[in-house]
Symmetry: C2
Subunit: 601 residues, 2 copies
């Protein structure tokens, strides 16, 4: 029996009922699409997820990549996945047609990625990374770079990577030391080391194209001296034959989870023969890379959501069939046992998982919707959607990552002892999930991003726009008697967020940056709980509307479930902001004032 | 380099400064001991932990037990660990001298167990389980059973187990179906299946003694028909030669973590030749077993604490040496990077880990202290300590288990990407830690235990005693200017707990058991946060006292760190009770009213 890992019904509910994705087709850029075509794309994605990704989910974990004689050997199906992702147009889905893409809205492409991820996260990373790298070349690369690299990358013949991290520069990109020396031929000679590079090399593709940060000789110190390069594994010699480009894998990491994808350590230029090709202008590398990072951060959020979804649906299926115990009132030991989903505490755990996974998916689709609207808008609207996307990116990366771990843990708990064993997929999902708060900017980095940058940028414009978006949904909630008490709670929470934000902005004015940012992670959590409640309200409103259309009993249950899940989130999760707010306004900087020596013993 | 996994200094601080363990020696039962002897025992335990347990921590994970031809093969050092645990007196440490024990206080024996666990949890389980099983025989077994089984168990020659769970009866013990048919020879013929039996069979001992629950033929249904048996793997034939007792291992489970200890599935009586020996009276098995379960529940709490400690000390060492980035004020990219422990967010994560691990250890030692005081007291005092121990057992099991997972996750986060790799011990600790909310009664079971049983038992006497204990510490806090504001917060929290408890007791009166117990897990969380804050106050008070004695700078740092950690816990963690209280008093039974069909889609 094949397990369920994602719900097409839920995806369509979000796409059409909540985000009205079909209306994108009225815009020129997306006018070649229709809702019917979106449905076909989704059905095709689900088919691929079921037939190509899911069957090797466990196998890729049990037989992780091997490092042999300098090469990285991955599961043989990776080649097929890359090729199908290329030939089926998945890698280039969102690319403009003139570059060979399908010009699909991000929100639809994202929904497809979600299915691939939920079926097999490790496998999904290969094409996703390639899409991000190709997109960066498409945005900022020269015509020559585009011509040489985009076709094989979009075809899935070449792997793309994102090569930032170095041994002494993880979260601190300012300190990268990989150097690029200009050569008379127009390229650069690259030399240095990179660590933790996902998909950094493997035998499932014909070449690997690194989008790499390096420092041009003589460049200023810090982030202002970082440039972006294309550094291929193989380059073409004068006769157009591929030759090694002096990029060597020195090891692969042995990881707790996410084991199907190799994470590599790379050494460039040991023989003095590693060529890099500058992307855009010198010293603007970090600015360019942020495009890929932002895309990847949403991707990480989606990755975490997909994993949590797979665990949730596995737990749901188990609790619907596993019988244990009786309802509290039932004292007769001869009475039959009930499926454990009948127990209130099990339902509570399932509501938690559902509220996290469907809420997180909704938020990420909201971000993709903003990206699409930015694309088709002009003037102030374009800026508005851009700012909202920027503001919500750290939330969409972190909430799914952090709460996703807790959600998978609750899924595992639903299985009891069986969840801890390899007989069920949840133990692997539990291991897989743990990577997300680390890669593409740790949770601490995301906290500093939202509080230290995003909330303040453009004189707080993004933040103000966010409040407006939430208030718009709150206005609608008032027309529903059963939603309005929960809307009131969200309105109060929004007030709390605003009060805390004001307090912290005052601290920032006082220029004590360390105290101001000390609990940035808590601020991000507070912001996230408000944002997620808003997304749940949007879902409840869409469900309410659908309920007026005389749905079948099955659909009615689904929509009523959405409304109840909104109530759950606002009642069980949202109140947690008060503890965060108390702490964030306490003016008692415990961590800052704690000397490191207090930890000695 | 050997990593630090536990702090002797902290253990001694808890033993002597917080719990005044040396005063136990004034009581007859413990009068053969002195503080100096306790110190020697602790030093010996630390030596064993370092030399015997720690070196095979990783190896036992990488090469888990194998099931071959019906036998379970474990790491060859297990035999040595069992023998040393026997010969060194560790298994029998708390046993009375007339049974061959050392009559050591539980609080001292517990401190030693903590070191073994922190060094290598899987390895520590073998002797700990044996101690629990032996203790049950010592308490309720016949003289014949004691004579036959206690000496080889206490010597580490025989493994003891706790055999409760069955395929259809995990959390629901009322439904066990293993049967015991009385035979004319005085023993019983056992037949049935058990699952998830830790240490259920292995080649590191000469025999395995199962303390097993079964139903005597014709016994009443439900928990009132359960009896307790000793069921050995090998029994003696008429010539005193060991022969198989028809207990067969049908499989071992392949687990995510805690891999060094085999968890087995057992089949009894397939050949109709499995003999069981009744312990105590028929149909009182569950009552007897609760002694071992309570002991094991504290043991699980200690296990979770030990694992979290090992992860915390690993993270601490890493953050003290790993350099990355600069302080927020420092804008000069040429300035040297700082050890990451200098970053406020890293200190926050370390404070979290320290507050969880040292707080949990303190709470468990508090429970052991109550056990010791119960032992040496008479009359109302004896009842008082007994009730406090009963009340706090679900807290001491669950808080370390649930928060331990989060704490290890924060340890892993301190390592960044390295934490996710096998190069450091935290990824294993992360996997090991996840078992604890499941075994010896899931968190849901513990929630129902505290709210549905413990708080109400003896007309709420245990609960009232608990309030008195906390208030005693609060009175002392008032004499310290810098503690009293935090004491006030704890006093308010105690008021919140009391208000919520009152509300729930009213619900219980109204006899709607399902609604009353629906959020029992949240109540347990609320109770735990208050209990832990109290334990942190006890530590802060002890540290304050020690600071008056002109300690060295190093000791001063340690004590000041304790006070700061108390402030941390009350400021960051305790406020979370308000969200729990809001939910617990909401009268909006979301999970109860949610039909299972709402989850369909």
């Amino acid at each position: 029996m094949q397990g369920k890992f994602a719900s097409e019904k839920n995806v369509k509910f979000l796409l059409y009922d909540v985000f009205d994705a079909q209306s994108l087709c009225t815009h020129d850029h997306y006018s070649q699409h229709t809702k019917k075509m979106f449905d076909m794309v989704l059905a095709e994605a689900m088919k691929l997820a079921k037939n190509l990704y899911y069957p090797i989910f466990e196998e890729m974990d049990r037989k992780p990549p091997e490092y042999k004689n300098g090469s990285v050997l991955v599961h043989p199906q990776v080649r097929k996945i890359m090729r199908e992702s290329g030939q089926g147009g998945w890698i280039g889905a969102t690319f403009p047609q003139e570059l060979g893409g399908d010009q699909l809205p991000w929100i639809v492409a994202g929904a497809c990625s979600y299915m691939f991820i939920a079926a097999n996260y490790s496998a999904s990373v290969y094409p996703e990374l390639t899409r991000g790298a190709a997109n960066l070349i498409a945005s900022y690369g020269s015509e020559a770079l585009k011509k040489e690299y985009l076709p094989p990358m979009l075809a899935g013949q070449f792997q793309g990577t994102m090569a930032l991290t170095e041994p002494e520069a993880g979260s601190s990109l300012a300190d990268i030391t990989t150097t690029a020396q200009p050569c008379t031929e127009g390229h650069y000679s690259i030399s240095g080391q990179k660590v933790f590079i996902s998909g950094g090399d493997h035998d499932g593709v014909d070449n690997v194209i690194h989008l790499m940060l390096a420092r041009i000789e003589g460049a200023p110190l810090g982030v202002k001296g970082i440039s972006l390069f294309v550094v291929p594994k193989l380059r073409c010699d004068d006769n157009e034959n591929p030759v090694p480009n002096d990029v060597v894998v020195s090891q692969i990491y042995h990881k707790m989870g996410y084991r199907g994808c190799p994470i590599t350590q790379l050494v460039m230029g040991e023989k003095g023969d590693c060529r890099g090709y500058l992307v855009g202008e010198p010293h603007k590398g970090l600015f360019y890379m942020f495009q890929m990072m932002n895309e990847s951060r949403l991707g990480v959020g989606l990755g975490a959501t997909g994993i949590a979804s797979a665990a949730y649906y596995a737990a749901l299926a188990y609790t619907q069939t596993r019988k244990q115990g009786r309802k509290p009132g039932q004292k007769d030991p001869a009475s039959p046992m009930v499926p454990i989903i009948e127990h209130a505490d099990v339902k509570r755990m399932l509501l938690y998982q559902r509220s996290v996974t469907e809420g997180a998916l909704c938020l990420i689709m909201q971000c993709y919707a903003y990206a699409d609207m930015e694309r088709v808008s002009t003037g102030p609207d374009r800026e508005k959607y851009h700012l909202l996307l920027e503001l919500l990116t750290p939330v969409a990366k972190t909430f799914p990552s952090e709460y996703g771990i807790l959600s998978v843990s609750q899924s595992l708990q639903c299985f009891g002892g069986y969840g801890y064993c390899e007989d069920f997929p949840v133990e692997q999902l539990y291991r897989d999930a743990r990577i997300h708060p680390i890669h593409e900017g740790t949770t601490a980095i995301q906290g500093m991003d939202i509080l230290g940058r995003k909330v303040m940028m453009n004189q707080g414009k993004a933040y103000t726009l966010f409040l407006e978006e939430v208030n718009k949904a709150l206005d609608q909630a008032q027309t529903h008697l059963d939603l309005s008490p929960y809307g009131t709670k969200l309105a109060q929470a929004l007030g709390t967020l605003d009060r805390v934000t004001g307090h912290l902005m005052d601290l920032a004015q006082q220029k004590n940056t360390e105290i101001f940012l000390a609990d940035a992670v808590l601020y991000l959590d507070l912001f996230s709980l408000v944002a997620l409640s808003w997304q749940w309200l949007c879902q409840a409103l869409a469900a309410k509307k659908a309920l007026t259309k005389n749905p079948s009993q099955k659909d009615r249950d689904f929509y009523e479930g959405k409304v109840l899940c909104f109530r759950y989130f606002v009642s069980y999760e949202l109140p947690k902001i008060n503890a965060l707010a108390e702490r964030l306004t306490a003016e008692d900087p415990i961590s800052v004032e704690c000397p490191a020596s207090y930890f000695n013993d």
